[in-house]
């Protein structure tokens, strides 16, 4: 068929356009693939590769082009530093609690909004505000809310006859306060996604469970939860990865303090890179953060695979 077209090509303009069509069709997938590949290469793979390379070098911020390969020395320094373990612990605790609390609150809000009640659209719009609000603006608003002297929270606390609380300046309260802001921001996103998933649960299966004598909680456990579980897992993965690399809220609210109690890997990375000018060590922190995020992604993939295997039984 192609030969015939090629023969005809030499003689008629119609055939030439047909051959051009075949060529164009062959190129088409690459035309679509090239932009995202270029984007990822320039903005993701190159910086990632560069970061990994830098983590094996001694590089100063003042002269980043003069790198000296030092092998694993940055990692040796990092693993010998107690502050690294502190940052790692804070990152893990913060991310885990952000996932547990953010997803739980978001799920409860989605379940509430999944039932019809007057003013549901307004409530949904109000609840989405936290997610829609820019991080910096939200952080500044929360700084005012947490203000020890004039903040809304302490006004309420003193109104209840209790002592003022130093929300952001004590090691006991700083991380919970940051978690509160994180949940305020993450839960609306979780709610939105989970609401969409909840609305796709087949009504007939829920009715079948009710006929089978299941109470509301059993219907939720037996029908709703398994149906939305893939979405729940995906949302948890996203929240976990976002929490591992969250910088703006933590930096603006506490700057990683007090005494490193809210200093996550990413906050520590900024401090080492831009205050100590040590790009090599900062890159090693970045690689550890990357490994942490990848570990979460691998756990998610394993869960996914297990679920798929079970569904194929």
């Amino acid at each position: 068929m192609t030969d015939l077209l090629l023969q005809a090509d030499a003689k008629t303009p119609v055939a030439r356009s047909a051959r051009g069509g075949i060529r164009w069709r062959g190129m088409l997938p690459y035309v679509f693939i090239v932009p995202p590949v270029l984007y990822l290469a320039v903005f993701m793979f190159y910086p990632l590769g560069r970061q990994i390379w830098l983590s094996f070098t001694r590089t100063r911020l003042m002269n980043p082009n003069r790198s000296e390969f030092t092998g694993l020395s940055n990692y040796e320094r990092l693993f010998a530093d107690p502050e690294f373990y502190m940052a790692l612990q804070v990152t893990v605790v913060y991310s885990a609690l952000a996932v547990i609390l953010g997803v739980t609150v978001g799920m409860i809000a989605a379940l509430a909004l999944n039932r019809p009640f007057p003013g549901r659209a307004i409530v949904r719009a109000v609840l989405l505000f936290g997610w829609a609000c820019p991080n910096v603006a939200a952080s500044l608003v929360w700084l005012w809310i947490f203000n020890e002297r004039s903040g809304v929270l302490n006004t309420i606390v003193t109104g209840l006859g209790l002592d003022r609380i130093a929300w952001l300046t004590t090691t006991e309260m700083a991380l919970p306060s940051i978690l509160l802001v994180t949940v305020w921001q993450v839960a609306p996103f979780v709610m939105l996604v989970m609401l969409a998933a909840l609305q796709s649960v087949p009504e007939e299966v829920k009715e079948a469970a009710r006929i089978d004598n299941a109470d509301s909680l059993s219907v939720f456990r037996a029908v709703t939860l398994p149906h939305v579980m893939p979405t729940l897992q995906l949302v948890s993965l996203l929240v976990a990865v976002w929490s591992i690399r969250r910088f703006d809220i933590i930096y603006l609210l506490t700057g990683g303090g007090p005494i490193g109690s809210t200093s996550t890997l990413i906050v520590k990375l900024r401090q080492i890179a831009f205050e100590n000018y040590d790009l090599g060590l900062a890159s090693a922190y970045g690689v550890i953060g990357l490994i942490l995020a990848l570990t979460v992604a691998v756990i998610h993939a394993l869960f996914n695979r297990r679920r798929q295997k079970r569904s194929q039984q």
């Binding site: 087949p202 009715e207 079948a208 469970a209 089978d212 004598n213 909680l217 398994p226 569904s311």
Partner: protein, 386 residues
């Protein structure tokens, strides 16, 4: 087993009346089929009986007790959904055992971890495991017990849905178009299986369908519905032989009953612009109804109604012949009436374009009021045809 009474039942969605003044009595062990076209309210009625939908008006009672406000589980019914509504993440075994596990479930089992442990224990409890295995065996599902619904065929899923409804031994089975997703062959097989099941368990079945073949083959009693109202209640034979109105006459039967708009006068029946023939005591202002199998196809000139064959449908065991009645007028070949269908046994050599004459026995004719469509009782029309 409950005796079910539906007393002036009505259902409205806002200002739209879906079911109007529904009255019926369903005896113990009956296989009742709610038959009607899509959107006639039959599924809505079934859901009201199950407790899945509110009753707007009227009283639903089981054995004389008003059950309008009872929950589905309090009513002790089994419901087989059109989509089967199996629990997709559970195995066939877990699906079948689920109602039994829920019956044995206690409030405190909701405590996390306890829940998982107790459900695991309940699944292994001797009586639940034995009952699940027995029902699976009855419905030939034993080999599939550890599979999930996604890996079952339509017929197998249907059987799992039936097994799940059977396992609790309920007194009332409600089935909402359970065969509509199956192919024709499987539908025939499952029809027989459901009938056998009814004969074995001897419980009350209420079955919703728009398929008249399902209704005629399985029901002990049929309620034909249209636009939320009862058109006729009767046995399959009554519904087919003595339809209460033109809707039932046309809805039940394939091809449907032939309805001829005839003029009657002094013992003769005529079709305006066409043939006339003798038929004593034919009522005035009536439509003449006759089933396709009650018409006889004779050679041309050997019957009162001259026709020409326009379509022949050969079904193997029988042949459906569609005819047009010939006109008396020179400018018109056929009368402007619906096709008249004739059902003949076997596969006769009949081709389109051939002319024949139709005859019938007068006792096979049913008359319907032209204005209301209601059937005119037999006594009014004497059986005598020229």
């Amino acid at each position: 087993m409950p005796h079910i009474e539906l007393d002036h039942i009505g259902k409205s969605f806002g200002t739209t009346n879906v079911i109007r003044d529904f009255n019926a009595s369903i005896a113990d062990g009956e296989f009742l089929v709610l038959l009607g076209p899509s959107g006639c309210g039959k599924s809505t009625l079934l859901r009201m009986i199950a407790g899945l939908g509110d009753i707007t008006r009227g009283i639903l009672s089981f054995d004389g007790r008003r059950v309008n406000d009872w929950t589905p589980s309090q009513r002790g019914v089994a419901f087989v959904f059109q989509s089967y509504a199996l629990y997709p993440h559970m195995t066939v075994r877990e699906n079948i055992a689920f109602p039994l596990v829920m019956d044995a479930f206690r409030k405190w089992y909701h405590i996390p971890v306890v829940n998982t442990v107790m459900r695991w224990k309940l699944m292994r409890r001797a009586d639940i495991a034995e009952r699940t295995a027995r029902i699976a065996e009855q419905l030939e599902l034993t080999a599939l017990l550890d599979r999930r619904p996604a890996n079952l065929s339509g017929g197998q899923r249907q059987r799992v849905a039936l097994a799940r409804s059977l396992v609790r031994d309920p007194s009332l089975y409600l089935l909402d178009e359970p065969l509509s997703n199956l192919d024709a062959k499987l539908r025939t097989q499952m029809r027989a299986e459901i009938s056998t099941l009814h004969n074995r368990v001897r419980k009350t079945f209420i079955y919703v369908t728009h398929d008249q073949v399902e209704a005629m083959t399985m029901a002990t009693k049929i309620i034909v519905m249209n636009k939320g109202e009862i058109q006729q209640i009767g046995t399959p034979d009554q519904i087919y032989s003595d339809p209460a109105n033109t809707f039932v006459a046309r809805f039940v039967g394939a091809p449907p009953m032939n309805l001829l708009d005839v003029a009657t006068a002094r013992g003769t029946v005529s079709i305006p612009g066409g043939p006339s023939w003798g038929h004593e005591a034919a009522p005035e202002n009536a439509l003449m109804g006759i089933r396709p199998e009650n018409l006889v196809l004779n050679p041309e000139g050997d019957g009162p109604i001259p026709v020409e064959v326009v379509v022949v449908e050969r079904l193997g065991a029988e042949t459906i012949i569609g005819c047009r009645i010939l006109s008396d007028r020179r400018d018109q070949r056929f009368l402007d009436t619906d096709l008249v269908f004739v059902r003949v046994q076997g596969n006769p050599r009949i081709v389109a374009g051939t002319r024949y004459a139709l005859s019938y026995a007068a006792e096979d004719v049913r008359w319907f009021d032209r204005a209301t469509g209601a059937a005119i009782p037999h006594a009014t029309a004497l059986p005598n045809c020229a």
